[in-house]
Symmetry: D2
Subunit: 326 residues, 4 copies
């Protein structure tokens, strides 16, 4: 736990992270699932993990996986259907032009929902990273909207035991993705009451959003269900250690998480390519704790008051006091 | 007219454009309204103009302004309430923390609606350029949403003779504005059926949007009411000549304007700081005509087919054929 | 003084800041020079000010200005020739195509050097904000390089009493400026040994640079002569309060300023549009002091060691310890 | 040949491109070198190829590789040492903190120079994609400069038969790379007269540069030796088809290539992830030809005149006339 929040991480944070150049991975992480789990165990306070359906969980190993998690004291906080690592999804999953591919994405998610239910996991995360386009004149922006709604509706109807969440991202792997930001996902989910939202705060940054404003918007519309934490330089989803770049904005983010009364998981989605994976997770946790402590130092009431005052200089002074005590 | 579209421009395109350094303006434009109108007359095909309420139109001069426009053969395509050039709006208009300021913004817009009605102008453009924040911990993102909806609702109820349109922009003059992009404005206007949207295509670019996708999204939601045309380098609202930077994207934009059956105005919102103002408007018009001709060269059907094909290389070939005939 | 550094500010930080919309200024600042000076006096530890040649200093008032500064205990840390607020510079100053304009820029700077000498001011700041281009095919990138070197050489030869410094910036007011970043200015000044560099750290940010790396590069080449401090969101020169956005990077910047043994001025170049100007300067000072204290908390030696270690997780931990003590 | 230019491509343009999600590649390309070569043969006018040392060429296969190229009528335009696909380079090659790794990078490049000499290849391309940092306080910006110069000097001294070229890039795979842009590489190579520069025009775009201005700067300093062609959305090195996004800027680029009298290779460095690889190369070639034809349509003299005129509206008109004839 980090304060009142359950603390999780995607399992690949503990893998030997690869990119398009170093396809074999930069190393220092696990190769097998067991190795990754054994690294995860070293991160104190970690309550859960996210696994990828198909990679980590399948019909054959599901009981074994459940036991592996249980033995190490981990809950399964999220199961992520794999709609993006195989060439068959290269031109889209829930928004593919080909209706068979769209149906395949629905089937894949439903299969994951069943696995999730069996593993007492509350959520599946639908991330359409391949749903987008690369060039002008390559996508029918009107049609895809309908397709995405149909696909998501079909997923949501499958079972009420597991909730479907949508994770937005402005780009990568597709040069441009369709579900770019918080407002877009909320608009897309209009009327799809069973479907919720994952806020990956790095995706918010790379989409040019203010993370805190995204929290407020999603929470106001009843769709703030889950968090992915990381940081980046805003031009790409670098999946760096939490608060390592956008420290002031991450402080404001933590305030708004408290302010809107969020009660769910805080999960790491980091790719510490060249770093010690366990230390990367620990440093993320330490920053999250330090930021919550910084909020406590000045108190929610004072922050509320500064916000209501609208005076930039007071906002700047507040941040300094919260972080440094000066 | 440009093809079937009525062609307009904001009057300040013909002014001696100023920025924060050259407060007196770079010159080559008009200083008085008459001078600017006389420059506008030199732009063939120009059917209308946009004026700013308070600057160009007031209770005293309204009949005279109507006559000036009529004498030169111009319609008033849009009246823009001034919610952003006076220090009193510096901390916001429709989303100001101070309720009196919010009310003042409503009053200002209503006054403009009356003037617009008298001048047979169909629209007023509510652009909350000062509605935003500069620093973290300076805005209550939840409250402002309610305030903006209340303010806009109050405006919409004033009269049905003139339609209130909202123009979104991600930043400037405020470091960060609240109504950042197409999805956000659509979400904000949920249930506010009387209110429409102005798409300033340069604001879309600077918000990291694809202009064509913004057209599709707004049109699909019944809120594509008016266009501001210009171009920029994406990091700022440079208000440059149409198609001077994002040529491929502007071609795709013109296709989508036709595709969704838009019938309204195409209006220039350019700031040709150092340029001959008349030539700047003419060059914008010539590019718009050239792009529509490029679409005609290949035909809507072929474009539709390429889009449905999803093949990047065919999309690239299509653009070349449309623009160059090769 | 801030620690061992002399602390200054551009006088316009205390003005009623204007932008292209609110040409009359947002208020809360001084209008006359006396008013601005009287605000500056309220900022404890402020040792000097920067004035703009032509605006604040001219042949008539120079003695009076010297007295005004002296009476208030301010040194003149920098005199900035005005090469950017008048329409005559709209198409360039030191790199204008018109040779008479280039000569006029040289004359203007020489005049300022004489004034600076008389006022015991060590530097003039040549900032070619209008030297650039807006559109493709509008600049001869080869010729302008020669012109800039000729102009700067002519300035440097004028007198040895006052040093000419060049301030780089990637854009604004020109859409694209010629002297974009630290490496470009160093390359441009090859062989122009008398000319130095002003590092405006916000210009570095907006140019996509790492501020600390810019310090190291300039210092290694013997051209780190003066600092302008502020912050921004990287897409524009927002001239915000120091450390309000890029806190981690500003901490690293302060370390490198110490590390390279810089001994000169730290000067504020902020535009606190909507803020109390005195408070804005005070908050900037407080953050600079807090960051220097943070460095002292962990010590230069430990920082050196972490840098040499190249381990990202240790770098992240270092920042947290320095800022928060945790 | 494309007009007077020899036309080449990196061989991986014809591979089944992978990214960090689809590690197995998106398909439609070759897996073996022979398969890739057989795809390359289908691109008419292709005079040469670039291979990667260690991947495609080694001591065992060098004669065979020479024959494979010759049989298909290809020259080897460039050999690229692999300093970036193995975990051992993860923390840097020519700028690694560890001196053994730096020496290993020198040895690797020298080995490639020998292979290149044997294959009648004029250049090796030193791209330090891993030379940079991810976090603040992770790099000694002063030391690395010296190390890079030492490494490059040692490479340059190895043999005069093959020229060492440096390719700059602002980021990726490292979050931030050291040799970010044209001015930086020129500054770095001061006094290293044997070393030249590869301009990857997509790297220029992603670094926020104007490609044409980079050409002018490199050529003026005698270091414009080789070109990589592609396009992107400026936030990342997307390696897209030439001119598919930045059409106006690519037109200006082609003009400057002619203007500075460049006589070398124009080589494709594209990653057509989801596209038909042969068609991607063909479309790139067709755009390059179309742009050279557009320049011919208006003529170099007219372009020179417009540039000298500095008038934005004329520059905009010129682009339209060149591309569309209107």
């Amino acid at each position: 736990m980090i304060e009142n929040y359950q603390f999780s991480s995607v399992l690949p944070t503990f893998a030997s992270c690869a990119d398009r150049y170093v396809l074999g991975g930069y190393g220092r992480g696990g190769t097998t699932m067991d190795e990754m789990l054994d690294l995860a165990v070293k991160v104190k306070d970690l309550d859960g993990l996210e696994l990828v359906g198909g990679w980590h969980v399948n019909d054959q190993n599901i009981k074994e996986v459940g036991k592996k998690l249980k033995d190490r004291g981990f809950k399964l906080s999220m199961l992520v259907p794999d709609l993006w690592t195989q060439a068959k999804w290269g031109r889209g999953s829930i928004a593919a032009t080909d209706p068979k591919t769209r149906q395949a994405s629905v089937d894949e998610v439903r299969k994951c929902m069943d696995w999730a239910a069996e593993l007492d996991c509350p959520y599946v995360d639908v991330w359409g990273g391949q749903d987008g386009y690369d060039y002008s004149f390559q996508a029918d922006y009107v049609e895809v909207w309908k397709w995405m709604r149909e696909s998501l509706h079909a997923m949501g109807e499958h079972t009420d035991k597991v909730k479907v969440l949508v994770e937005y991202k402005a780009r990568e792997p597709r040069m441009r993705c369709f579900i770019t930001n918080a407002a877009t996902v909320l608009l897309l989910l209009r009327g799809l009451d069973k479907i919720g939202v994952v806020l990956d705060v790095g995706h918010a940054l790379a989409a040019g959003e203010n993370m805190a404003a995204a929290v407020a918007l999603l929470a106001s519309h009843g769709k703030l269900d889950y968090f992915h934490f990381n940081d980046n330089y805003r031009s790409w989803d670098d999946d760096m250690i939490v608060a390592s770049v956008h420290l002031v904005e991450t402080l404001e983010l933590m305030y708004w998480i408290k302010r809107v009364g969020y009660k769910g998981w805080l999960s790491l989605d980091m790719f510490p390519y060249r770093e010690d994976k366990v230390q990367a997770a620990i440093q993320a946790r330490e920053w999250m704790k330090a930021l919550l402590a910084a909020i406590d130092r000045v108190g929610m009431d004072k922050i509320d008051k500064v916000i209501k005052g609208n005076e930039g200089t007071e906002a700047v002074a507040l941040v300094r006091e919260a972080l440094t005590g000066r």
